[in-house]
């Protein structure tokens, strides 16, 4: 599997897209840091970008990578390698290249700024961490969607819809339900609801860390009240982990039954 990871990773970081993605974050973070003196405000601005953009870019990358490597995968399938090594290898290679773009793009400006000497270091690490987690989750979902849809346009369409659903539509439906059923106690329902959306979970995780109750919104506040800050963060981190592992296992299971 290491060899598959190696070839997938080097193939991806040589692509223009990975470069653009890294440069975008480099410029964006650099500009924010240059014009702001308050690190926590920069981290909150970046949080909003990370919550929307990382899933979108990972969705595009995941689907594109699956379709672009069909030849390579067919070649690998005829070699003495386990099927699951091929698919896990590609997924990990993809995740690593997204992680590298994010780390380099956001990391360099912060390091130059002197984040290591700052009290905000942990907030920054959490920000990078959720960026990586969201990238892996949406890359896995898009890869899985591409795998079950041989039609590329359909595959891309569904993958983008899934992103749109979690980034926008889900919260809309959630708010409507909350207002419709406002006469009932909704704490546990809203807790469950936020566990089912990785973007919400990531938002809760970082807001709990930043401890900004004004920005928390209903679900984060419930989360905070219910679990407290530390266990709330721990639980959201674990569920985010599950959001990576479960699509990963589904990729393995679907690939085991597919014909190539």
């Amino acid at each position: 599997m290491q060899k598959i990871i190696k070839y997938s990773f080097f193939d991806l970081i040589r692509s223009r897209w990975a470069l653009f993605y890294g440069i975008f974050f480099l410029l964006f973070t650099g500009v924010l840091l240059a014009f702001s003196t308050d690190l926590s405000k920069v981290i909150i601005s970046l949080m909003n970008v990370v919550l929307v953009l990382c899933p979108l870019i990972a969705t595009m990358f995941g689907a594109m990578y699956y379709y672009n490597t069909s030849e390579f995968r067919e070649l690998l399938l005829a070699q003495p390698i386990r099927r699951r090594s091929i698919f896990w290898g590609q997924f990990i290679g993809l995740s690593l290249s997204l992680t590298l773009s994010l780390l380099v793009g956001m990391g360099i400006p912060f390091v130059v700024y002197g984040i290591f000497a700052s009290a905000q270091i942990w907030n920054f690490i959490i920000l990078i961490g959720i960026g990586i987690a969201l990238s892996m989750i949406f890359a896995a979902l898009a890869y899985l969607i591409a795998m079950v849809n041989t039609n590329q346009i359909r595959g891309f369409g569904i993958a983008i819809l899934v992103w749109l659903f979690f980034a926008l539509i889900y919260d809309g439906i959630f708010l409507i339900l909350l207002s419709v059923f406002s006469a009932y106690p909704l704490d546990s329902a809203s807790l469950a609801g936020s566990l089912l959306n990785p973007i919400d979970l990531a938002r809760i995780l970082i807001l709990l860390k930043l401890d900004i109750s004004a920005l928390m919104g209903y679900t984060s506040a419930v989360f905070n009240k219910f679990f407290g800050t530390v266990s709330g963060m721990l639980i959201s981190a674990i569920v985010l982990g599950l959001w990576i592992v479960i699509p990963g296992i589904l990729i393995q299971r679907v690939s085991a039954r597919r014909d190539f």
């Binding site: 060899k3 598959i4 070839y7 193939d11 040589r14 490597t69 069909s70 030849e71 390579f72 067919e74 070649l75 690998l76 399938l77 005829a78 070699q79 003495p80 390698i81 386990r82 099927r83 039954r257 597919r258 014909d259 190539f260």
Partner: protein
């Protein structure tokens, strides 16, 4: 059996058994109960019309396509959920599809690395197929014939006892074709089990020890070339196959028609 030469050195184990293989894609039944036992090394040519299931059969043997029913046994090992057996086989796919951004050299190094093989056997095939001047070119920029040469090099360089070739000579120039035939004879003499699919009958006449004719997902004929010709009472393999596909097959009348017949055709007007 099947006219194979007795001079060949038998590889210790090159036996494939296929038992009642069934594969369908949705409602389309591609393989409808294939039974096959290949005991003797040599070249087996799988023939059949387009869509008859030749490639699907090869892909089942490779573990790329998973049959709904049936068993495939390589040297006594059931290949279902196995991957180690692929160490002993090489495959050249029908349409040579490669990662387009790699050069030939990088590609060959990569599959050697993936298979964990460090030999330099590819040098010989690079020389024989005249690929030396293309080695630094990206695979995406190569012509169909050159890609096919790379495809064959990648299949032959591992010296695996099983060799599966799907339409191996498509796009090859005459020099490469002669080289390929010689190489295949050499591989055969090593005692390998070689299975190829093709639509080009000259290669069957030159190389095949045995012919498998697949029609509608079943083995319709199995035997040597002379047995095929004898059974269908035809002088050439093309005609024997035409006879299988269409029992009432007759040559079209190619005697020139009288001129007045031609001119009496209704005229095409604008």
């Amino acid at each position: 059996m099947f006219g194979r030469t007795s001079l060949i050195i038998h590889h210790p184990s090159t036996m494939i058994t296929i038992h009642n293989l069934i594969k369908s894609y949705g409602k389309l039944e591609v393989l409808r109960g294939i039974h096959l036992e290949l005991k003797e090394p040599g070249v087996t040519a799988i023939l059949g019309p387009n869509g008859s299931g030749k490639t699907t059969l090869l892909k089942c043997l490779l573990g790329m396509v998973i049959p709904q029913h049936g068993q495939i046994i390589f040297d006594g090992r059931d290949i279902r959920n196995d991957w180690q057996y692929r160490r002993y086989l090489s495959y050249a796919p029908q349409i040579a599809k490669f990662p387009n951004n790699l050069t030939i050299l990088e590609f060959l190094e990569m599959i050697k690395d993936i298979r964990g093989v460090s030999s330099t056997a590819e040098q010989r095939y690079i020389h024989l197929f005249d690929l030396a001047s293309h080695l630094k070119m990206r695979l995406g920029t190569l012509s169909g014939g050159t890609k096919q040469k790379v495809n064959l090099t990648a299949a032959l360089m591992f010296d695996a006892p099983y060799l599966f070739l799907d339409e191996p000579i498509a796009g090859l120039d005459p020099v490469a074709l002669i080289r390929f035939k010689d190489l295949l004879k050499e591989e055969k003499a090593k005692g390998k089990q070689i299975i190829l699919t093709t639509h080009i009958m000259s290669i069957v006449e030159d190389l095949a020890d045995e012919i498998l004719f697949i029609l509608d997902g079943k083995i319709y004929f199995r035997g040597t070339l002379s047995e095929l010709l004898e059974r269908y009472q035809e002088p050439t393999i093309e005609r024997a196959i035409a006879r299988i596909l269409n029992p009432g097959f007759q040559d079209i009348d190619i005697t020139p028609q009288p001129r007045e017949n031609l001119t009496s055709q209704p005229e095409m007007s604008n």
